[in-house]
């Protein structure tokens, strides 16, 4: 891809700003509460900026899905999620802020016991692995500059580690505000230009109606319908993955860090507005990319890099730099937050609460810095193994949700006596079932695609087993406890 010097300067300028923020923000940190939760002082605009930008990290994956499947991307990566966000805003946000805790494993300990915290921390660590995002950034830089993937992955990891270690959560949220602005402008400007260049809906309809796409393996004839060519089961399973929100450490962390207990609800509702506008832009940019490719107006290397191709073709210098920076910022803001959350699992949930209960604040902060390095190292190794961002999301999501959702929801909403053993067994059996299902599917793969038992996706048995085990063990164990 041809990058003009002005575009390169914008990208470099962005990284310099991140370094500067990371360097200076350290002054704002006066203790553990500042380092972990920015002193619980997040105002509404910062809450929205950091939540929207952190939550939205998989721009390349969304590009891949919009390009390959069309409008159904908005349903599975947008609509289902808005419903769960609304539930979170109305029924959980205030409760979480009022609990004054730090992490989801803290909640598990409050609901159950210390062992549930321990297990929860491990699943949390897996769920917040920044691997898919580090891989995305590696792919972007590899595409832009042609540098080897592993080198780009390491470079990105280095920048992120610098400002996250120095600035803690304060560094994360301040960089998020800049990244929020860049991602919104970057994504919003490309769609009007695509419409101006290629044409309106008539263009989309006529270009997508040709069943033989130049890429050869995508049927685009139903790209503008609600469900596309996807099966109902496929759509519903993505709907279930939206439940991830209910156990998402990023959501919880921002609720804990809000200035008062009204901000989380208001902030999530405002964020939903941003997500709706943003998701429509991203979905239709992907659809324009596939339509233009279909019409022979655009050369696309792969579905995953379709946003980069359409941006390269449509945007003049400077605007291209802005778009690319927005794209990088979208991914970077999630990668840094997840890295920090993983580090908190190590330092707060395991080191301080399980292994060394009398650790001082300074020791916990030091351990968080080591945790950042561990979290990034784990992610780098993982991202070198997978080559699809969507696959990685899917498997991490399936196993993590199967473990966490049931004990968390029972914890918040079940008023009766709760058994810690039920939580532990529910987490272990749910995730093991999902893992077994995934492994079995891969061992019996056909043409490289996993074939699951009875054609059932692994999340269903995972959640079902987790729920049944929880209910069954809770009834028996609570009786015995009495």
């Amino acid at each position: 891809m041809n990058i003009a010097p002005v575009d390169l300067s914008i990208i470099i300028g962005y990284f310099v700003i991140l370094f500067i923020i990371g360097y200076f923000v350290k002054r704002k940190i006066h203790g553990l509460n500042d380092y972990f939760l920015a002193g619980r002082r997040l105002t509404l605009p910062i809450f929205v900026a950091t939540l929207v930008s952190t939550w939205y990290g998989g721009l390349l994956g969304v590009g891949e899905m919009s390009f390959s499947y069309g409008f159904v991307n908005w349903i599975v990566n947008g609509f289902f999620w808005y419903l769960v966000y609304l539930f979170f805003a109305f029924f959980l946000a205030k409760k979480i802020r009022k609990s004054n805790l730090y992490t989801i494993p803290d909640q598990l300990e409050r609901f159950y016991d210390n062992r549930s915290r321990f297990l929860g921390a491990i699943f949390n660590f897996i769920m917040v692995s920044p691997a898919p995002y580090i891989l995305s950034l590696g792919i972007i830089f590899n595409f832009l500059f042609g540098v080897e993937l592993w080198i780009t992955i390491l470079l990105v990891a280095f920048v992120m580690v610098f400002y996250t270690i120095r600035g803690g959560f304060v560094g994360v949220v301040y960089t998020d505000v800049i990244q929020f602005v860049l991602m919104m402008i970057g994504v919003a400007m490309i769609l009007p230009i695509a419409i101006y260049t290629y044409g309106g809906f008539d263009f989309l309809q006529s270009a997508l109606s040709n069943p033989e796409l130049s890429l050869g393996y995508i049927d685009t004839t139903r790209h503008l319908t609600l469900t596309g060519t996807q099966t109902t089961q496929w759509i519903i399973i993505w709907g279930f993955i939206a439940f991830w929100t209910l156990a998402d450490p990023g959501f919880y962390q921002r609720c804990y860090a809000a200035k008062d207990d009204k901000i989380p609800k208001k902030g999530i509702l405002l964020s939903i507005g941003f997500w709706i506008l943003f998701d429509i832009c991203t979905t239709f940019t992907g659809i324009y990319a596939v339509a233009a490719s279909q019409a022979g107006l655009l050369e696309v290397e792969s579905a995953l890099t379709s946003y980069l191709s359409i941006a390269g073709a449509l945007l003049p210098p400077a605007l291209l730099g802005l778009f690319l920076t927005g794209l990088i910022a979208t991914v970077m803001s999630t990668a840094d937050s997840f890295t920090f959350l993983g580090a908190m699992n190590i330092s707060h949930d395991l080191y301080k609460k399980v292994f060394r209960k009398n650790a001082t604040d300074a020791q916990v902060i030091k351990m968080t810095k080591i945790g950042i390095l561990i979290s990034v190292a784990f992610a780098v190794v993982l991202s070198l193994f997978f080559d699809s961002v969507v696959d990685m999301w899917y498997y991490i999501g399936t196993i993590g949700i199967s473990a966490m959702i049931v004990p968390i929801l029972f914890g918040f909403f079940y008023k009766g006596k709760k058994s810690p053993l039920a939580a532990i067994l529910s987490m272990s059996m749910g995730s093991l079932t999902a893992l077994f299902w995934v492994t079995h599917g891969f061992l019996n793969a056909e043409y490289g695609w996993p074939v699951y038992i009875g054609g059932i996706e692994p999340l269903y048995p995972g959640l079902l087993v987790s729920l049944l085990v929880f209910v069954f063990v809770n009834i028996i164990h609570v009786r015995r406890m009495k």
Binding site: T43, L44, P45, I46, V48, A49, V177, F180, V181, M184, I185, V187, A188, M189, L191, P192, I195, G199, G200, F201, D202, G273, F274, L277, F278, I280, C281, F284
Partner: protein, 37 residues
């Protein structure tokens, strides 16, 4: 009306909403500064 107009409104709406958020963010910062002074 071509549905593409709605997409254009969506994109500009996103930019507008972002600028309002940034305005309130800066206003909060200035207020905080004044309070400290």
């Amino acid at each position: 009306m071509d549905l593409a107009y709605l997409l254009i409104i969506d994109a500009f709406g996103l930019m507008f909403a972002t600028s309002i958020l940034v305005y309130f963010f800066l206003k909060d910062i200035l207020k905080e500064r004044k309070r400290k002074d």
